[in-house]
Symmetry: C2
Subunit: 121 residues, 2 copies
């Protein structure tokens, strides 16, 4: 029953691939806001923003509550861990590989040093 996370990861990355949605996330990091409030700054319809929020919600980045006819949006920052977890895993692997390569190059340098000061070329 594993590998739900790959679908989830795809949703999160896809959600943040849009600059308007990233900006919404940025603004929500300063505090909760309603759809109407979020829509104001952009040159698009409220419906478009509503769709963006739905995408963020389905990615688990945003949750919503109720306040009369308003539906305030709240940033769920824990989801970021999913991304940083993935990223750091492969960054670490790449860096380890880089260090091993460094070690090999150093070893080759040593060999060359021995060659130069030792037997032959």
């Amino acid at each position: 029953m594993a590998e739900l996370s790959t679908e989830r990861l795809s949703r999160v990355f896809a959600a943040l691939a849009d600059p308007t949605r990233r900006d919404i996330v940025a603004r929500l990091s300063e505090g909760d806001a309603t759809v109407g409030q979020l829509a104001e700054p952009y040159g698009v319809s409220v419906q478009a923003v509503s769709k963006h929020i739905k995408v963020l919600e389905e990615a688990g980045l945003v949750s919503r509550s109720r306040d009369a006819q308003r539906r305030p949006c709240h940033l769920e920052a824990e989801v970021f861990d999913l991304m940083t977890g993935w990223i750091e895993r492969y960054r670490r692997r790449a860096e380890e590989r880089f260090q091993r390569l460094d070690a090999v190059l150093a070893a080759m340098d040593d060999l060359q040093d021995n060659d130069q000061r030792g037997v032959a070329s």
Copy 2:
């Protein structure tokens, strides 16, 4: 002349929104590989994989060299910093806000304590 990074960030997030491309990145973290090698495990054509690599390349996640007719792919892990930088910025803001909220709630608890043990209800 700023805000080149927003376009770049969009490309990186969009590139990683596809599970096949994430898997390619994962495999490249273990070492460089050619298009042909990368294509084998997936049930898609070499051309499709070639397109995926192009997307990763334009996002700056992959660079390529030349070895005869082969074009080995190399993971450029530094780009990850762009993402983690963005993510951490807003995670931090959200957490700070959360702590402030915590402080407010604690203050309200104090007030209530005083009310209970002090003057009136």
